[in-house]
Amino acid sequence: MHEWALLIFTIAIPAAVGGILFLWFMSGKIANDDANFANIMKLPLIIIACLAIVGLFGAFFHLGKPIHAFNAIRGFGRSWMSNEIVVTGVFIALACITAGLAVVQKKINPVLMLLTGLVGLIDIYCMATAYTVTRVNGWHHLNTYFVFYGTAFSLGPIVGASLLAPTFKEGMRKVIKWAFIFSIIGIAIQLIGIAMFNAYIPEIETISGVTAATKLVPYSGMIGVRWVIEIAGLVLLAYLSLNTKNKLNFAFIYTALIFFVLAEGMSRYVFYVLGS
C-alpha cells in the first residue's frame, strides 16, 4: 500500500463534507442568539475548511508531477478523476467562503452551509465514481459509494461534534446525541455495502487476475480490528449521549473522534490495498 496521500484525501474530504452537513443540521437545532451562534460556528467552519484544504493538499503528494497539476482539469466531463478534482475545488471554495463569511461578517449563512454540504455530497459521488469506473476488482462495485458516503456520515458528525465542543459547552449533550444517531446511519451504510460486496461474484477485469477477496486475505485481521475500533467509538458515543448523570467528559468526545479516525483510516487502507 503506497496510497497514503489518497488515503488522507479520501478521508479528509468526506469528513469535511459530513462535518459541514452536521454543522448545518445542528445549526437548525441550536438556539438563535445570533452573535453567539456565529461565535460557536466560526471555529468549526474554519477548521473544516482547513481540513478540506489539507485533504486536497494531501492529494498532491500522490502526484508524481505536481507542477503539472493544473492540467488535471482538462479532463472535466470526460474523466471522473477530473470531475472529482474540479468539484473538490468548488467544495473547498464554498467551504472557505462559508468560513470566511463567518469570520468577516460574523454571520452564519445556513443556506450556504447546506449548499457547501450538497456540493460536497456531489464531490463524494465523483470521488467514488472515479474508483468504481476503474478495472480494479473490489472498486468496480457499488460498495465503493457506501464506503465513501459511510465515511462522511460516520466520521463527519463526530468531527463536527468535536469541533463544537470547545465553543458550545452547554448544548453538547444534544450534539452528541445527534452525532451518535448519524454515526449509526454512517456505519449502517457501510454494513449494507459490505453485505452487497460479499455477495458479489467478481468479474476480473485486470490481467493480474487477483480477486479482491484474495487480496484481502492477509488483511482480515486488520479488518476485524477496524470494526472493533469503530464499534468502540460508537459505544463511546452511545455512552456519552445516554449517560445523563455524570458531567460530560470532553476527553471522551475526542477519544471517540480518534477511534473513528483510526477505524476509517484502516478501512481506507484496506480499500487501497485492492488497487495496489
Binding site: 503506497h2 497514503w4 496521500a5 488522507i8 494531501g58 503528494f61
Partner: protein
C-alpha cells in the same frame, strides 16, 4: 504518514540508486545523460562512427549457456547505450538469425553491475599461512594494490610449494593460472564429467557419440524428416536458448509428433505439443530396459517387426549369445539379461514401472511407437546421464536405438541433443583459428575427480584414475574462470575444505562464491574489456567479438594476471605468452576456416590485406578469404545459409552404416558395443564396477534410496528426489547477480501439487530442503507439471549461508548433492534426495530485492 515523508525522500533515493547503478562505469567515463549504462568504449579498428547515432559493435556473450548468439551493443560518444541481436540478414527458418536470449540482452547489466569488483583485495584477518581461516566467507575486505597482491600470491605460492611440494597447489579449471603454476613445477588438477554425465567416459568405448566431440544425431534440416521425436530429458527451451527450439519447431511444422520423457513437463514439450511421460530422475535406464523387453516380447519379424535384427547383427556386438565378443561368457549377453534367462528376472514393463514410475501400459505404448514408427529421433540431453551409476543408462539408451534401427539414416537418429549442438549435429562448417600460444605442460600428474575433490583436501587422499589411491596435501586453492564452490557437489564440504587450507585465491569480476571464500581476490576484466575472440557456436556460425570498453577500474585480464605472477616467480612471461592478446585475436581471425562449396574442404574465412596488418600492428601475412576482415568484424558473424537438399547435411554414423568394416566406430571391436569389455575393465580401476552390458543397478542416492525399506515401500528420512534443471535466468551461476533477470525469472523450487498438498505448502511459502549434506531455502512454486515425489531445484543460485553456516537462503543446488563417486567417476548431480518442509523462520523476499554483494572500502 511516514510513507508520506518517505515519498518526499523517495525522489532522492531513486536518484541515489541510479547513481549507484551506473557508478560502476564512472571510473572511465563521461557523465551519463540518460539512465543508459555507460563506459568509455573503443571503436573497432578501422570503424568510424558515421552519422552521430553511434556504432553497433559485436560484444561478447561468452558464457557456458549451451548456445552462442550474436550480441551487439550501440556505442555512442564512448558510451554503451543499447543492445541488440542478429539482424545481419533476413530471418527465415532455413537461415535463421542467431537471436540472443534474455541473459545475453542483460549483458551490459552484468558488465556494469554495481557489484563489479574494482580493486585487488585481501581478507582483513588474512596472514601468510592462513590467519583466522575460519573467517573465510565472513571476513571483511581490505583494498590492496596490485603489487601487494601479486607479491602475496607469489610468496605464498613459493612457500607452499617449498614446504609441501607443488602437489599442494590445486588450480581449478586450469586456465591461465594453470600455465603460470606450470612454470614453477606444476599443480594438482581436478576433473569431472560435469556436463556430459556418464557419456564422457563411456562413449568412445561404446562406439557412440556424446554429442559434442563425436556427433551422434543428424543435422537440423534432416530432423524435419523424423515422424516421431522423443525428447528424453531434454529441454532446449531452457537449456539451449537461442535458435535450437525454433529449429525443433520446424520439425513439428513438417509433421513430426513429439513425446517427452522427463520429470518436468517442459516448455519445449509444450510448444511441440508433446505427449508427456513423467519419469523419476535417474530411472531412465529401467524404462529403457522395460521398453526393450516389450520390443522383444511383441516383436514378430513377419507380422509385427519391432526389432531390427539386421541392424543388431551387422553393427553391434553383445546383443545375443550369437554375437558376443570372443573370450567372454556367452551367457552374459544382453538379450538373456533382458529376458531374465539366468537371473530369473525378466525386465518387463511391470518390472520397470515399479522403478521409474511410468505405467507398464505406457511403457508398452512407447515400445510400439518407437519400434513401430519408421523414422524416429531418439534424443536425450545430458541431464539423464548426470546421475550416479549412470554409465548403464548411456549404454541402454544407445542399445534401444540400435534395436529399433533408428540410427544412421534420414529421419532416424539416436543420441545426445544438448548444449550448442542441440538438434543440429554434424561437423562444424566453420572453425576458429588457433590463438597461437604454446602448450605449457604441467609436471604434476595428479588429477582428482570432482566427486572427491573436497574430500581429497580434507582427508589427504584420492583415487588417481587408472592407477589407484594417491596421497595429496592440498594447501593452496587457486580459482580461475569457474565457480567450483557453486557448481561442484557438496558445497558445505567445499566450504570446510576452503577453510582448511593455508591459502585461497580467486580471479573474479564479482564476489562469486569462490571469491567470497578466498583470501585474496583479483578483479578480472570481462570479455568486453579484452581485445577479442573468435568463437564457434552451432555448426553453421562463427562469431567474432571485439573490445567494447577499456578495463573497468583496476581490473586485469587473466593473462595479464598470469604474466605478473610468472614475472614475480622469477620466470619469463614471454615464454608462456610470446604474443599479446591482440595478436592472439588476430591469429584466430586469420586461421578461421570455412567449408567450401563442395561441403567438404575448407578455405580461409577472412581476407586480410597488408593494410589490415599494418593498421592492427600485428604480425601476419595477407590472405584471401570469403569476407574482408572489417566486414567480418562489423557483422560479427559469418553464417552458412542452409536449405533442404544442400550438401551440408549430416546423418550420424552414415559412414559406419554404409561400410562398417572400412569405417569402424571408436570402440575396441569397431562396432557399437552392447557388450563393452573395455568399460567393464576400466571401471575396475575406477570407483565402482560397471557390468559390460547395461544391467540395471539402483543409483546411489537414486529413487530406491528414498526408501527405508524398498520391499515394503516404506519411505526413508529423505523421501523426495531432487534434480536440477538448468534454468533460464542464469548460465550455471553466471548472471545470477543481475537484478533484472532475478525479476524476470524468480528463484523458486518446483513442487508437485500432490507433494505440496501433503506437506501443506502453497506457492510463495518459503520451504526448507534438507539432507545430510546441507540445508537450503527457496520459495515454493506449486505446479501440476512435475512428477510427484520429485523436486525440481533449478541449478546455479549463489549460495548465501546464514551466520551460523547452516542454512543457505539462496537455494543452491549443490547444498543437497553429495559426494558419491561411482562408476568411472561420473558427476551425479541429478541423483540426490532430500526432505522438504515449510520454513518457520523469516520468509524469503523476492531476491531481486536482495542487497547486491557490493564491496565498499
Amino acid at each position: 504518514m511516514m510513507d508520506l515523508i518517505n515519498k518526499l525522500k523517495d525522489f532522492k533515493l531513486t536518484r541515489r540508486s541510479f547513481i549507484g547503478w551506473t557508478s560502476a562505469a564512472a571510473a572511465t567515463l563521461a557523465v551519463p545523460t540518460s539512465r543508459g549504462l555507460v563506459a568509455k568504449a573503443e571503436a573497432n579498428i578501422g570503424v568510424k562512427e558515421a552519422n552521430g547515432e553511434g556504432v553497433w559493435k559485436t560484444a561478447a556473450c561468452w558464457h557456458n549457456c549451451g548456445s552462442r548468439c550474436l550480441n551487439k551493443v550501440l556505442v555512442k560518444d564512448g558510451v554503451v547505450i543499447r543492445q541488440k541481436t542478429d539482424d545481419t540478414h533476413p530471418d527465415s527458418p532455413d537461415f535463421p538469425q542467431q537471436r540472443g536470449c534474455l541473459r545475453g540482452r542483460s549483458q551490459r547489466h552484468q558488465v556494469f553491475n554495481a557489484d563489479r569488483l574494482k580493486y585487488p583485495m585481501k581478507r582483513k584477518h588474512w596472514q601468510p599461512g592462513g590467519g583466522k581461516k575460519e573467517l573465510r566467507g565472513k571476513d571483511q575486505w581490505v583494498r590492496i594494490s596490485w603489487d601487494e597482491a601479486i607479491e602475496h600470491i607469489a610468496s605464498e605460492t613459493k612457500r607452499i610449494a617449498k614446504k609441501y611440494g607443488n602437489e599442494a597447489i590445486w588450480v581449478t579449471g586450469g586456465g591461465e593460472i594453470g600455465k603460470a603454476m606450470s612454470t614453477i613445477g606444476g599443480y594438482t588438477a581436478s576433473t569431472g564429467t560435469i556436463s556430459w554425465g556418464a557419456w564422457l567416459y563411456t562413449y568412445e568405448m561404446l562406439g557412440v557419440g556424446e554429442g559434442l566431440y563425436v556427433q551422434g544425431i543428424n543435422d537440423r534440416i534432416d530432423l524435419r524428416n523424423s515422424q516421431l521425436i522423443v525428447l528424453w530429458g531434454a529441454n532446449p527451451a531452457w537449456s539451449t536458448m537461442g535458435s535450437a527450439t525454433y529449429n525443433y519447431l520446424q520439425a513439428k511444422k513438417a509433421g513430426a509428433r513429439f513425446i517427452t520423457i522427463d520429470p518436468l513437463y517442459t516448455d519445449s514439450a509444450n510448444v511441440f505439443g508433446a505427449e508427456w511421460v513423467p519419469i523419476r530422475p535417474g530411472t531412465d535406464h529401467a524404462l529403457a530396459l522395460g521398453i526393450m523387453h516389450t520390443l522383444l516380447e511383441e516383436d514378430d519379424p513377419v507380422t509385427n517387426p519391432l526389432v531390427k535384427w539386421d541392424f543388431l547383427n551387422k553393427y553391434t556386438i553383445g546383443f545375443d549369445a550369437d554375437h558376443m565378443p570372443a573370450g567372454v561368457d556367452k551367457k552374459e549377453n544382453f538379450k538373456d539379461y533382458l529376458l531374465g534367462t539366468y537371473d530369473q528376472q525378466p525386465k518387463t514393463a511391470e518390472w520397470a514401472a515399479e522403478i521409474c514410475g511410468v505405467k507398464a501400459s505406457t511403457i508398452r505404448y512407447l515400445a510400439r511407437e518407437i519400434g513401430g514408427t519408421e523414422r524416429v529421433a531418439l534424443l536425450t540431453g545430458w541431464a539423464p546421464a548426470r546421475i550416479n551409476n549412470g554409465e548403464g543408462w548411456v549404454q541402454a539408451f544407445s542399445t534401444l536405438g540400435m534395436m529399433t534401427g533408428h540410427m544412421g539414416s534420414s529421419g532416424n537418429m539416436t543420441g545426445v541433443s544438448c548444449w550448442e549442438y542441440a538438434g543440429n549435429n554434424g561437423p562444424a562448417l566453420l572453425t576458429p583459428g588457433s590463438a597461437g600460444l604454446p602448450d605449457i605442460p604441467n609436471e604434476i600428474t595428479n588429477v582428482i575427480n570432482e566427486n572427491q575433490i573436497f574430500d581429497a583436501v580434507l582427508k589427504g587422499k584420492f583415487l588417481q584414475k587408472g592407477e589407484g589411491e594417491r596421497k595429496v596435501n592440498i594447501q593452496f586453492i587457486y580459482h580461475n574462470y569457474n565457480a567450483v564452490l557453486q557448481t561442484r557437489s557438496n558445497i558445505m564440504r567445499g566450504i570446510e575444505a576452503h577453510r582448511k587450507v593455508e591459502f585461497v585465491v580467486t580471479n573474479a569480476y564479482a564476489l562469486t562464491t569462490t571469491a567470497k571464500y578466498s583470501d585474496i581476490v583479483l578483479p578480472v576484466t570481462t570479455e568486453w574489456e579484452r581485445p577479442g575472440t573468435v568463437k564457434a557456436g552451432n555448426r553453421e556460425i562463427l562469431i567474432a567479438w571485439s573490445k567494447i570498453i577499456d578495463p573497468l577500474y583496476e581490473s586485469k585480464s587473466d593473462q595479464q594476471i598470469a604474466k605478473l605472477l610468472i614475472k614475480k616467480f622469477g620466470k619469463n612471461p614471454d615464454e608462456v605468452y610470446p604474443i599479446d592478446e591482440k595478436q592472439q585475436f588476430f591469429n584466430q581471425l586469420a586461421g578461421s576456416q570455412v567449408v567450401k562449396e563442395n561441403g567438404k574442404d575448407f578455405e580461409p574465412l577472412v581476407t586480410i590485406t597488408a593494410k589490415d596488418i599494418q593498421e592492427w600492428g600485428v604480425k601476419g601475412t595477407p590472405q584471401k578469404g570469403r569476407i574482408g576482415l572489417k566486414e567480418f568484424l562489423d557483422a560479427g558473424i559469418y553464417q552458412i545459409p542452409r536449405k533442404k537438399g544442400d550438401n551440408l547435411g549430416f546423418i550420424a554414423y552414415k559412414d559406419f552404416i554404409d561400410d562398417p568394416v572400412k569405417n569402424p566406430v571408436s570402440s575396441e571391436s569397431g562396432k557399437f558395443e552392447i557388450y563393452c569389455k573395455a568399460m567393464n575393465e576400466t571401471s575396475k580401476k575406477a570407483f565402482t564396477e560397471i557390468a559390460p552390458i547395461p544391467k540395471y543397478e539402483p543409483k546411489a542416492e537414486g529413487y530406491e534410496s528414498t526408501f527405508a525399506d524398498w520391499k515394503k515401500k516404506k519411505k526413508g528420512k529423505y523421501p523426495f528426489q531432487v534434480f536440477n534443471p538448468h534454468y533460464l535466468r542464469r548460465s550455471h551461476s553466471t548472471f545470477d547477480n543481475v537484478p533484472q533477470l532475478r525479476e524476470a525469472w524468480p528463484n523458486p523450487v518446483y513442487l508437485s501439487r500432490a507433494d505440496a498438498k501433503e506437506k501443506g505448502i502453497q506457492t510463495g511459502d518459503t520451504v526448507l530442503l534438507s539432507n545430510e549434506y546441507g540445508k537450503t531455502l527457496r520459495p515454493a512454486l506449486v505446479v501440476e507439471t512435475l512428477m510427484p515425489g520429485t523436486i525440481a531445484l533449478p541449478h546455479g543460485a549463489w549460495v548465501d549461508l546464514d551466520e551460523k553456516d547452516e542454512v543457505d537462503r539462496a537455494g543452491a543446488d549443490n547444498m543437497l548433492v553429495g559426494f558419491v563417486p561411482t562408476g568411472l567417476g561420473t558427476s551425479g548431480y541429478n541423483t540426490a534426495r532430500c526432505n522438504i518442509e515449510k520454513w518457520n523462520g523469516t520468509p524469503l523476499e523476492e531476491d531481486y530485492k536482495w542487497e547486491q554483494r557490493i564491496i565498499k572500502f
